[in-house]
C-alpha cells in the first residue's frame, strides 16, 4: 500500500504541508477563502528542534493502537487506510492518547480527525506531498513495516 514517508534531510520547516493539508480538507476550492483569518488545524504537523525538522502525520500502521482502542468503531481500516467516521465518534479521545505519533487530533467540533491520505477530499492524493517544495514528503509503496506496538 502507498503511504506517506518523510525525508527529514530535505525538510525545510517551511510548514507549507500544514497549510496544504488544511486547505485540502477545508472543502473550499479557494485557498484564500479557506484559510484567511483561520487558525488552521492540519492533520500533518512539522516537528522541529535544533535545525532538524520533519512532518508527522498518520503512519497508517498495520496494527494501529487507535483503531484497537476506539470504543465506538468510528476508526476503521479501509483498504489499509485508517479512516475516521466523525458521525460515530463520541470524542472520548482514547485514540488521541494512544497514538504514539500524535497523529490523531481533536477537531473544533469535539470529535477527532486524522490524515486519510486525501483520498476522501477533493485533492485525491496527499496534498502535503504534491505541495512540498523540496521532495521531503513522498507518497510511495514500500515493504510492510512493523506495527507500532
Amino acid at each position: 500500500m502507498k503511504r506517506i514517508y518523510v525525508k527529514e534531510d530535505w525538510c525545510l520547516g517551511c510548514h507549507l504541508c500544514e497549510y496544504n493539508c488544511a486547505y485540502a480538507n477545508s472543502g473550499n476550492p479557494d485557498m484564500v477563502k479557506a484559510l484567511k483569518d483561520v487558525a488552521i488545524r492540519p492533520r500533518i504537523r512539522i516537528e522541529e528542534a535544533g535545525g532538524i525538522s520533519f512532518a508527522v502525520s498518520c503512519r497508517h500502521c498495520e496494527e494501529p493502537l487507535c483503531v484497537r482502542n476506539c470504543i465506538t468503531g468510528s476508526l476503521r481500516i479501509v483498504d489499509g487506510v485508517i479512516t475516521v467516521d466523525q458521525e460515530k465518534c463520541v470524542g472520548c479521545f482514547t485514540c488521541v492518547l494512544s497514538c504514539p505519533y500524535g497523529a490523531v487530533m481533536p477537531t473544533a467540533a469535539g470529535v477527532v480527525q486524522k490524515c486519510e491520505l486525501c483520498l476522501r477530499n477533493a485533492a485525491g492524493s496527499p496534498a502535503c506531498v504534491t505541495g512540498c517544495p523540496n521532495g521531503a514528503i513522498v507518497y510511495e509503496e514500500k515493504e510492510a513495516r512493523e506495527c507500532a506496538m
Binding site: 530535505w10 517551511c14 510548514h15 507549507l16 497549510y19 485557498m31 484564500v32 505541495g131 523540496n134
Partner: protein, 501 residues
C-alpha cells in the same frame, strides 16, 4: 547616516487580501526581509534587505507576493544613470572595491542574437529527426590527420584519447565552496546520467563524488586547491584554468566564512581562512611554462587524460590560443566576458574581456589558417542561453559548449546576483546547512537532465532543418550562419555573410 541612504531598489508587494499569514516567506528568507507582526496578525517586509531572489514569491501558496522595481527615482539624467550615482555613494561610504556576482549584466551587444541559421528549401532536403537518426555525439581532443591501414587494408583505429560526449554541452567549472555540496551532487549525477561532463572548478573534488569520476573534469587553477594524485586520477580530463570570463586577469577569493567543514578539507586549506587563488599561475609566464604544466599533468595521470586549457576571451585571444594549441593541450576552453562568477569586483566583471562569439570565430579561423585546428578541440562558454546559441557556437567553430549560469538556473537560481553574500536562498551558492538543504539533488539533477535533453531535441530539430544529420558536419560550417545588423568588420571577424547575401 543620511548621506549613505539609498532607497531600496526593489519592493516587496504583498497583496494583503490574499495573504493567509502562513509565514512561509518569513521562514524562507535568509535575508530576514519578512517579519510577523503578532499585534496586527500580518506580515511586514523590509525592502532594504531584499535581493530579489524570488524565493518567497515562488513558495507563497496564495500568490500574495511579487517583487517590483521601485519607482523611486533620482532626477532624470541620461549621463548619470541611477546605478552610477548609487555606486559613487557606496564607494564614498565604504572606500572599498564594489563586489558583484554572476555574469556581466550590462547592455553590451549579444552577437548570438545577431546571427540567424539556415534551413533547407527545395533543392536540398531537410531531415526529420523524429524519423531519421541524428548524431549529436562529439569527441573532444586531438584528431589524427592520417588514415592508417594494416597489411590487409583494414582501417587501424589511431584515434588519440578523446572525451566522448553524448551531446555537445557540458557543465562549466564551478567550485565546491562557491557552490553547495548538493549543487555539486546534482551536476555530477546529471552529467553521469546524460553521458556528458561536469567540471569541479578550482575547489577540489569531494570524496563522495569520486564515484562520478568518469563524467568529471578536474580543474587545476592558480591556487592549486585540492590538487593531489588521487584527484588528478579521479577525473576523465584535467583542466588548467588560466582565466575566467567574468574576471580575466584576476584570481579568486573564497571568504573564510565559506571555507568550512568539507570545503576546507576538500580544498586542503585551513578552516575559516580565506582561500585566495592568485591572479597568475606563479609557475607560468610563457607558453613554454604552460607546456611544462600540461606535460606534468599528463605524466602525473600516466598520459591517460586529455588536458584542457581554459582562458578568458581577451585581446589577441587567437594568438594566445595558437600558443596553447602548440603547448600540448588537447582542448582549449574559451570563456567570454559574459560568463558568471560566484564573486568578482564589479568593474572587472563589467568591463574586462571580449564577447565569446568574436573570440571563438577568431580562434577557430586562426587555428585553421595555421593548420593546427585538428590538434585541439575548442570549447565555448560565457552565457550560452539556449540550444540556438549552442548550434551557432558550433557553426562558428566550437566543438562543444560549457554552460554554467543556465545550469544554475535549472537548479533554481533566479539570478539575483548576490552569490558573494553566501546566503543563497535557493541552496546553491551557500555553505549554510539550513540553506544548502533546500537544494534536493533528486529534484535538481532531474531538472538538469531535462534541460540538456530538451536542448538536444532542439539541436536535432535545427540540424535537421539545415539538412545536417551529424553535429560534426556543422562544426565550423559558417555558411549556415547569416548576420543581421552587423557591420563589415563584425561580419569579417565572425567570418559570416550578411543576411541576403
Amino acid at each position: 547616516m543620511a548621506i549613505d541612504f539609498l532607497y531600496p531598489e526593489y519592493e516587496v508587494a504583498r497583496n494583503q487580501s490574499r495573504c493567509i499569514v502562513c509565514r512561509v516567506c518569513e521562514r524562507q528568507c535568509a535575508n530576514e526581509v519578512h517579519a510577523y507582526d503578532a499585534e496586527l496578525n500580518c506580515l511586514k517586509s523590509d525592502d532594504s534587505k531584499c535581493v530579489n531572489c524570488h524565493r518567497c514569491v515562488s513558495l507563497c501558496p496564495t500568490r500574495a507576493l511579487k517583487i517590483v522595481k521601485s519607482d523611486h527615482t533620482f532626477k532624470h539624467n541620461a549621463n548619470w544613470p541611477q546605478y552610477a550615482i548609487e555606486e559613487i555613494y557606496r564607494q564614498a561610504g565604504s572606500g572599498g572595491v564594489l563586489l558583484a556576482s554572476m555574469g556581466n549584466p550590462k547592455d553590451y551587444p549579444n552577437y548570438w542574437d545577431k546571427m540567424l541559421l539556415n534551413a533547407s528549401q527545395v533543392t536540398n532536403p531537410s531531415i526529420d529527426p523524429l524519423r531519421e537518426p541524428m548524431e549529436t555525439r562529439v569527441c573532444l581532443g586531438p584528431k589524427n590527420h592520417r588514415i592508417e591501414r594494416d597489411s590487409q587494408g583494414r582501417l587501424i583505429n589511431n584515434m588519440p584519447r578523446n572525451l566522448v560526449l553524448s551531446t555537445p554541452i557540458m557543465f562549466s567549472a564551478m567550485s565546491f565552496g562557491s557552490l553547495s555540496y548538493n549543487a555539486h551532487a546534482s551536476m555530477a549525477r546529471a552529467a553521469s546520467e546524460l553521458g556528458i561532463f561536469y567540471n569541479t572548478g578550482e575547489g577540489g573534488l569531494h570524496e563522495d563524488f569520486y564515484q562520478y569520476g568518469a563524467n568529471t573534469i578536474v580543474q587545476v587553477a592558480s591556487g592549486r586547491f585540492g590538487v593531489h594524485r588521487d584527484y588528478l586520477a579521479a577525473g576523465a580530463a584535467i583542466e588548467i584554468k588560466m582565466g575566467q570570463g567574468a574576471k580575466p586577469g584576476i584570481g579568486g577569493h573564497l571568504p573564510g566564512t565559506k571555507n568550512v567543514g568539507d570545503v576546507s578539507r576538500t580544498r586542503m586549506v585551513p578552516e575559516g581562512s580565506d582561500a585566495i587563488s592568485p591572479a597568475p599561475h606563479h609557475d607560468i609566464y610563457s607558453i613554454e611554462d604552460l607546456r611544462q604544466l600540461v606535460y606534468s599533468l599528463k605524466e602525473a595521470s600516466n598520459n591517460t587524460k586529455p588536458v584542457i586549457v581554459k582562458i578568458a576571451a581577451v585581446n589577441n585571444v587567437a594568438a594566445i590560443a595558437s600558443g596553447i594549441a602548440r603547448s600540448g593541450a588537447d582542448i582549449i576552453s574559451l570563456d567570454g566576458f559574459r560568463g558568471g562568477t560566484g564573486a568578482a569586483p564589479t568593474r572587472i566583471r563589467d568591463n574586462v574581456g571580449i564577447p565569446i562569439e568574436l573570440a571563438l570565430a577568431a580562434v577557430d579561423q586562426r587555428l585553421r589558417d595555421e593548420g593546427i585546428r585538428d590538434n585541439v578541440s575548442i570549447l565555448a562558454a560565457g552565457s550560452i542561453h539556449s540550444s540556438a546559441d549552442v548550434i551557432k557556437a558550433i557553426a562558428l567553430g566550437a566543438d562543444a559548449v560549457y554552460i554554467a549560469t543556465a545550469a544554475l538556473m535549472a537548479m533554481g537560481c533566479h539570478l539575483c546576483r548576490t552569490c558573494q553574500l553566501g546566503r543563497c536562498n535557493w541552496g546553491i551558492a551557500t555553505q549554510v546547512p539550513e540553506l544548502s538543504k533546500r537544494l534536493n539533488p533528486d529534484i535538481a539533477s532531474k531538472r538538469l537532465v531535462n534541460l540538456i535533453t530538451a536542448w538536444t531535441h532542439e539541436i536535432k530539430e535545427m540540424m535537421g532543418g539545415m539538412g545536417i544529420n551529424s553535429i560534426e558536419a556543422l562544426r565550423g560550417n559558417r555558411l549556415m550562419l547569416r548576420g543581421v545588423g552587423l557591420n563589415e568588420k563584425e561580419l569579417s571577424i565572425l567570418g559570416i555573410m550578411h543576411a541576403g547575401e
